[in-house]
Symmetry: C2
Subunit: 533 residues, 2 copies
């Protein structure tokens, strides 16, 4: 059965009806002998000589926070350019740079900047301005698309052959396009009971209905995440359930690794169970994986600063084959998984660059939609990512390895931050008093602080208490997200809603994480006081 025959019924009516007539297409009869070097007066593209930028030079780091090692402080590179005295460093023979301009001059002289030139010679692996900054293929610039294909083949190889990928403008845009293509008013979408609210807007905008799936926050990695027994039961008994009036689900949306907001990661066993349910009940799995590469062991209070990314604890191969959670797409024999990846968390968010991996039929439909909406993502963003990775590749056996090496450095930083936060939180009075518990996390940027409101005397209305807690946090000077605000259905999730989502991604340094922990604790203690009266 062809992909189209199998999956056409999953298209939204808008995607199915979409017609796009390219105005270039001409069928050429055999008797026409085309000129080998035609001059194009057809395409309305400005010549690259008209672009005001002739070349771009990127000052790229060897590892995150490398600037902290510099022997100088600069207001343009350092947040704390006043407060810390520079350390003396020197590099054999070369005078240490005194400021950021020196540094960049030196890096430019020694060829360690990453360049984007107007042109590149044939055979070069870099993207030039001529193509990168020009009108370009909607699905993405070929060299970077090829890299991402290689990357997926190596790291999350789909369990079938007829897959493909397309770029989009960041995770939100990927999901917007996926739901625009695969859901409408006749679609029921299963979602984790707590999830990222803008995705719910994407779903509801198409007319589809989102139904929450019960999940577990647990210290047992085999229990964390979607409750598969609940899910199987719901699907087996759909027509007797409270949702019988809705069509049986055609999509399941999950953030299976470092889930937002719970921080939970689905075990491999659970992924297999969910995939088996998808096969049995014929639904698609939309796997949203922005955090998967930020992978680490559970926090160990006996060894609070243990970080396997330091001192070569993981090889690239170990990271690739053992550390990373297995994507649903590696279990996908039927082509029913749509995997969404992004460069936001491992490169930077301002690129607005993501990609979607799925079967060729779905990808062709996504590209059709892109052709009449956003078209190609920023060529500047693509050229930056591609040329940086290709530069790094000189020091590795492949570009994929080079990219994994950087990603591991970022993961190492997240591991450290997670450790610092957990250590600081566990030292607080509020933790000692059992006002909150830390659910272990093995991926991502979020910690799940389970609030034990039942420990607080006189507290009978949890919703009101969470509001009061919010005010206390405002006064103490710390911001956290209340889990209840990320529930798909507050009523459904009421008993599991008293938690905070806390991130360790953004703080400037360890001290901020430690200070924030104290403020969280103070806020909770003041909540107790508020109810003590």
């Amino acid at each position: 059965m062809s992909l189209e025959a199998r999956y056409k019924r999953f298209l939204s009516y808008r995607a199915d009806a979409r017609k796009f007539t390219p105005f270039w297409h001409v069928t050429v009869p055999d008797f026409v002998k085309p000129h080998p070097k035609p001059i194009d007066l057809g395409a309305g593209m400005p010549n690259e000589g008209l672009f005001p930028v002739e070349s771009v030079h990127l000052n790229v780091l060897d590892h995150p926070f490398e600037h902290q090692d510099y022997g100088f402080r600069s207001p343009r590179l350092h947040r704390d350019h006043d407060s810390r005295p520079p350390k003396e460093t020197s590099d054999a023979g070369k005078p240490a740079p005194h400021n950021e301009r020196d540094l960049v001059s030196q890096k430019f002289s020694d060829g360690s900047m990453v360049d984007i030139w107007r042109y590149e010679p044939a055979g070069s692996s870099s993207i030039p301005i001529q193509s990168g900054f020009q009108y370009n293929q909607t699905r993405g610039l070929t060299p970077l698309v090829d890299f991402c294909r290689d990357f997926i083949s190596s790291v999350h190889p789909p369990a079938y052959d007829e897959w493909d990928l397309t770029f989009a403008n960041g995770s939100s845009d990927s999901l917007f396009k996926v739901f625009e293509t695969l859901s409408d008013h006749s679609t029921t979408v299963l979602v984790e009971e707590f999830t990222f609210p803008p995705t719910l807007s994407n779903i509801s905008s198409t007319g589809a209905t989102a139904i929450p799936i019960k999940g577990n926050s647990s210290s047992d990695p085999e229990v964390q995440g979607i409750d598969t027994e609940y899910l199987a039961n719901l699907l087996d008994n759909w027509s007797e359930s409270e949702h019988a009036h809705l069509p049986k689900p055609r999509l399941l949306y999950t953030i299976p690794t470092g889930q937002n907001p719970t921080g939970m990661t689905l075990s491999l066993a659970k992924r297999k169970e969910i995939y088996a349910l998808a096969e049995k009940h014929d639904f698609l799995i939309v796997e949203d994986d922005p955090y998967g590469y930020l992978r680490f062991p559970f926090y160990d209070s006996q060894n609070p600063r243990f970080n396997p990314y330091e001192h070569g604890g993981y090889t690239i191969e170990q990271y690739r084959s053992e550390v990373l959670a297995k994507s649903f797409i590696t279990l996908d024999t039927s082509g029913r998984v749509i995997r969404c990846e992004t460069f936001s968390k491992v490169f930077f968010p301002g690129l607005r660059l993501s990609f979607i991996v799925a079967n060729k039929y779905f990808i062709s439909k996504l590209v059709e939609f892109e052709e009449v909406s956003t078209r190609a993502p920023s060529g500047v963003s693509q050229a930056v990512v591609h040329n940086v990775i290709q530069k790094w590749a000189h020091s590795f056996d492949s570009a994929v390895e080079a990219w994994l090496s950087w990603v591991m450095k970022v993961a190492g930083q997240y591991t450290h931050r997670r450790n610092v936060l957990f250590e600081a939180l566990q030292a607080t009075p509020a933790f000692q008093k059992g006002l909150f518990t830390l659910v272990p996390v093995s991926a991502g940027m979020f910690a799940f602080l389970q609030l034990n409101l039942d420990k607080i005397p006189n507290l009978d209305k949890p919703e009101e208490a969470m509001r009061v807690l919010g005010y206390k946090f405002m006064e103490e000077g710390v911001q956290a997200v209340q889990g209840v605000n990320m529930a798909v259905c507050k009523k459904f999730s009421f008993h599991r809603s008293q938690f905070l989502r806390v991130t360790y991604a953004y703080a400037a340094n360890d001290e901020e994480l430690q200070e924030a922990s104290k403020r969280l604790s103070s806020g909770l203690e003041r909540l107790v006081e508020a109810y003590a009266k």
Copy 2:
């Protein structure tokens, strides 16, 4: 009457129904005293120290094709790095750069590169990586949004106060969002009878119907473009017309300056007529203006290389107030014009950066849609544009002037290219024989070659002849767009469809334009031969 009261009825049913619940929003009671410096553990944003790029340095030109003046040739900067010997140049005291690396080193040393640093001191006009490359406001980075507001206020000031703007990801994306917001199956959209086909896909995707408006290709600037008499008649007699079964039009979509594909520019008198019709019949005007800044006088065969942009023929003030065609929005007293601008043609297409100017109510609805779709455009693209303009601003009275100065240089290049092409075409045998006429253009990147097929003996089927012409062009080695392929309704536009859209934007140099002209002529002469039998 408020904007909402007046314009709510124009929203598509999808835009009207859209709900977006921000999960941050909290109303804070007065008794809460917020901490002055809260630590944010809420927002899932990676710290800028985790980004692999610490600074970006742009080699920016003083004028287009500046590289042709360099005293060296390089495969990374020059397309013709082999064929032309370098000219000797020297700059008092400084050794001339030998290659591209020298050039960039020198520019970096003398501070003429444009920089994007990780941080910028307070009060700096540059966008730093810290904000530019981070998650950011959907409508665009504030410094660049502010610049665009200043720019519009100066160059195309709306004739009312309650206007605003938002960025999007290029013209196609702007139009996608505008039609998504303002049209559905209950909407009739009037469009120029020849237009850019992807926009027709945007319109039809929403369920709306596009109805063509007859236009004139004329050498009289007062007659060029939309036939306003036809339009008035159509609207006045809608219920007796062939379109009586359709709702009366709510939108009119126009590319009024350097129209694609016809190259026509609407006179100010026509713009006023069309605006008056919009007021009378209560429709909105979607003004798509990617080419407006590429403005020049009609070609003068008596003075074929006349270029007012050379030798200071136009001051910036003249260009701003006299040369530029008046945007519909400068006539807009009611807030019914949606003006779409883009950086694609005057900066470069790969930015994927555009902006939409409209009344605040419509802009808020557009931003609502952006929030649940593409979110912000590339921060890299925005930081590049902004910091380049701010750098140039040092040499001018304002950033707006600096930007206009660059734009004029690009317009000057297009003027030259238009001149070269027209001169070459008019020298061809096909032109001499009257096989085609050149309709004068005063803006944009397209020339309108009216084909005089009636001059060709034995040619009775124009459609077949155009196909044959296409094959001849393929063999001669020249590509042009056949106007018929850009008709909204081939039947409606049949008698006005025998033209070619030819662009002078992309050719590498004058010689390519001249050679292409010869090939066009040969193709046409071979068409005559084909019918001579």
